[in-house]
């Protein structure tokens, strides 16, 4: 069949047999799998369900700015102390919040509750918690910040604000990998 596959740069693909075509898809699968395995590996190594997060608001300025990338660990044995920068999720909401721990109350049996506040905010986070909730618990915490890289997270923010751009980039990358026949 003529047509699209007659273009010279696609002639490589026309001459591939079933096995080679399968290998093209496998190569694509290997790249996606490598990224996935590295991510899952990080999850296990750090103990955090989301070891890398992007700062979405300016509530922690001047320490963290919108677009900074944070690396988290979630060591459940390490006690939460006032001054720690915790990343947490309010029950029922998706968006992770990056704020500082203000007050901590501990009981002998190990139960801990704490209050948070953004450095750049005028008031504490009780307004953000679920209705009736006055404190956060260990289970709400995704992790605590151990390191950061500035600016890089802006790419993620842009991609989420313009999903079509994200799908276009991913789509083009996918097509490039699938159509590129290696020697």
């Amino acid at each position: 069949t003529m047509g699209l596959l007659d273009i010279s740069f696609l002639s490589d693909l026309k001459r591939m047999n079933k096995r080679q075509v399968f290998y093209q898809f496998l190569s694509f699968g290997m790249i996606v799998s490598s990224a996935l395995m590295i991510w899952k590996g990080l999850i296990v190594a750090t103990g955090s369900e989301s070891p890398v997060v992007v700062v979405l608001s300016g509530s922690m300025e001047p320490g963290f700015y919108r677009g900074d990338l944070l690396f988290l660990t979630n060591d459940l044995e390490d006690p939460i102390r006032a001054g720690d920068i915790a990343v947490f999720r309010i029950k029922g909401r998706d968006i992770p919040i990056v704020h500082r721990v203000l007050q901590v109350h501990e009981r002998d049996d190990g139960y801990v509750k704490f209050l948070t506040k953004g450095d750049n905010n005028a008031i504490d986070d009780r307004g953000l918690y679920a209705p009736g909730q006055l404190w956060l618990e260990k289970g709400d915490v995704i992790g605590r910040a151990k390191g950061f890289v500035p600016y890089i997270g802006m790419v993620t923010i842009v991609m989420n604000d313009y999903p079509k751009f994200k799908y276009a980039v991913l789509g083009l990358l996918g097509i490039f990998v699938l159509l590129n026949r290696e020697a």
């Binding site: 740069f9 490589d12 591939m16 399968f22 899952k40 020697a183």
Partner: protein
């Protein structure tokens, strides 16, 4: 795939395309002119390893979806470890077992009794280079001895200005190489 006899035309500046075109033409020559039966064992090995690796990661994805972290911790550790071990194995496999081999053809014994003779083709073409090296190796089915011959040619000998492969010229070169090995065989 259809056995089209339309001339192969590629971008002459694309090193990958050059090597693939020469490799594909050599495969065609070996299959058609000498009636060899192509053996896919080497490629199948590579495909199996890669499929195992991808399955590993898909399994991890599924398990983590069904039993979210931290319940899935053990399974994740196993899958991640297996995946990277398999990736290492694949690298070793590509480097040592396949090592540039793009064709393995079996010459069936006419009587049908003795094991097949094996013809292996390997090639290499460095990035941005024009020196294409083709190596033909013959492994006797009965004798188990190997003999090989290799030849380095410039790709300019086989492609014209438009990037079309001059099949006849290349066919003559490949046949010449193979026949020289066969002649050696008869002499010994």
């Amino acid at each position: 795939m259809s056995q089209e006899n339309a001339p192969i035309k590629i971008d002459k500046w694309d090193g990958n395309a050059l090597k693939n075109a020469l490799d594909d033409a050599a495969k065609k020559i070996m299959n058609e002119s000498y009636g060899l039966v192509e053996s896919f064992k080497l490629i199948d090995g590579r495909l199996a390893l890669c499929s195992m690796a991808v399955s590993c990661s898909l399994f991890a994805l599924l398990w983590d979806f069904l039993y979210p972290f931290p319940a899935s911790k053990t399974v994740l550790i196993i899958c991640v470890a297996c995946y990277f071990i398999l990736t290492g194995v694949i690298s070793v496999y590509l480097l040592y077992f396949e090592g540039g081999v793009f064709y393995v053809g079996l010459e069936k014994d006419k009587a049908g009794i003795d094991p097949d003779d094996k013809w292996t083709l390997q090639s290499s073409l460095k990035k941005y280079d024009d020196q294409y090296c083709l190596k033909i190796t013959y492994t006797g089915g009965v004798s188990k001895q190997t003999r090989s011959v290799e030849r380095v040619c410039s790709v300019t000998e086989f492609f014209d200005e438009e990037g079309t492969l001059c099949y006849d010229l290349y066919e003559a070169t490949v046949k010449g190489l193979k026949d020289s090995l066969s002649a050696d065989k008869k002499a010994k």
